[in-house]
Amino acid sequence: MRNMPPTYRILPVIENRSLGPYTYLRIEDPEMLLVARCGHFLMVGFSSSIDPFLPRPLSLFEVEENSFSILVKVRGRGSDLLSKTREGENLKILGPLGTPFNPPESGVLIAGGIGIAPLYYQSGWMKSGKLFYGTKKKEELILTREMEERDFTVKTITQENGGTVCDLVRMNKNDIEGEKIFICGPWDMIRALKEILGEFATNAFVYLERRMGCGLGGCKSCAVKTNSGYKLVCQEGPLFPLSEVRFD
């Protein structure tokens, strides 16, 4: 697939609202729709700020005609500041970055927590599928109705209700046979899923996240260990075949 070169631009936030436990930021941009593909991510930085110094790697969440959106989970100072960006304020946007891919017409998506963000974007490129989705609490489950409207069968689980998405996958393993599988969530979940999926893991792909400095293959920070040595998430990812990823 042809990958359009990324651009670096200062763009205004035009909407900031809560979506479950997350902050939904919509950014005005007439160009993203022309270039964005599955697997793309952005480096999102603070306008005219050297503290926080680094931009944050974030998945595309929605791309519309004149805007795109990202989903922010507050984890530290940077994401907290990002979540408080007001409408009209500018952000530095570098992207789209990463290696895009063509998703299948149908497949299985497995999301843990905010891992739903890139999978929701991916579902928009698919005709139908199955979503297995786990969060800590019930109020953290978002977009289940929208996913159903996209012809996805949705199965959810929460930790307060007795289980993780790994349990959900284990219970529904028959539904997964022969399907292409896409996973996004915490590292421990990915590691557990590799074991649970067993032979099906050869059909599975995983969105990985790493601390990133640049997003352009310059700083060599976002290395992930694979069967063929370290690979950079920003260049060869963020999507990797699950069978390639090393957990040792």
Partner: protein, 297 residues
Amino acid sequence: MIDLSVNLSGIKLKNPVILASGVWDLPYREIIDFDRLGGVIYKGVSLKPKEGNPPPRLTETPCGVINSIGLENEGVMNFIEEILPTLKESNTAIFSNIFGESIEEFSKLSSLIRDVSGIEVNVSCPNVDKGGLLFGKDPNIVYSITKSVCNETDLPVIVKLTPSSANIVEVAQAASDAGASAISAVNTFQGLVIDIETGKPLLKRGVGGVSGPAIKPLALYNVYQIAKSVDIPVIGSGGITTYQDALEYFFAGSSAIQIGSAIFNNPLAPIQIIDNLKKWMERKGYKNLKELKGKYE
């Protein structure tokens, strides 16, 4: 008409802004117009490929960043065969940064590299167990490495120094005495970030190198001390993100500057620095960079 060109002991650059080693790779050409830059220094290469340190390799610090990449690179032959021909498509001065774990490795590397504007000798990396700043702290070793590199190549030799040495002026003097054409000062400062959830260092290797605006006054002082003590030009680096930062470096005695981690914060920083420097000089009535250099004596 403002003249931004510089001449570093015979290395002619169209302007003083150089992209530092270790922060960029080829994809950056899609964002930064390399034709506009004074020069670019490609990431340190060693004789054989190095896979680098285990992650996490980088995290943010107040007004900066700390890294422990460990000189991940594809080796010198990849640089010569794959990278250099691509970089040559740009109309800018290209420098190669070399890293060896022994004097012999530095010699061998410098004998292989041709067709660049100069070789930057890395004796200042904080993130390796052999070589790096362990060499760069010792004026005698820096003298020997510089001498052997200068013996192997006709290209201009730049020596990149660590701020970790007890006396950086002495090390700079040693490099100059051994035949270096210029000094790059400084590489990152050794630093530490601890993850309070685990009580352990956040970077897998523990110690890392700090860069960005946080180190600017520290780096600037090193540059000032070197510039007033050695005769060869100093290429200043450390926390430069704006033209105002660049001006401070020129006033402190830098002949040129390197932009490093600033491009993570703002990839267009090098270009903006060139444009804004020019505008500032026009406004203030300066005609060339020589008029600025070392004003603080």
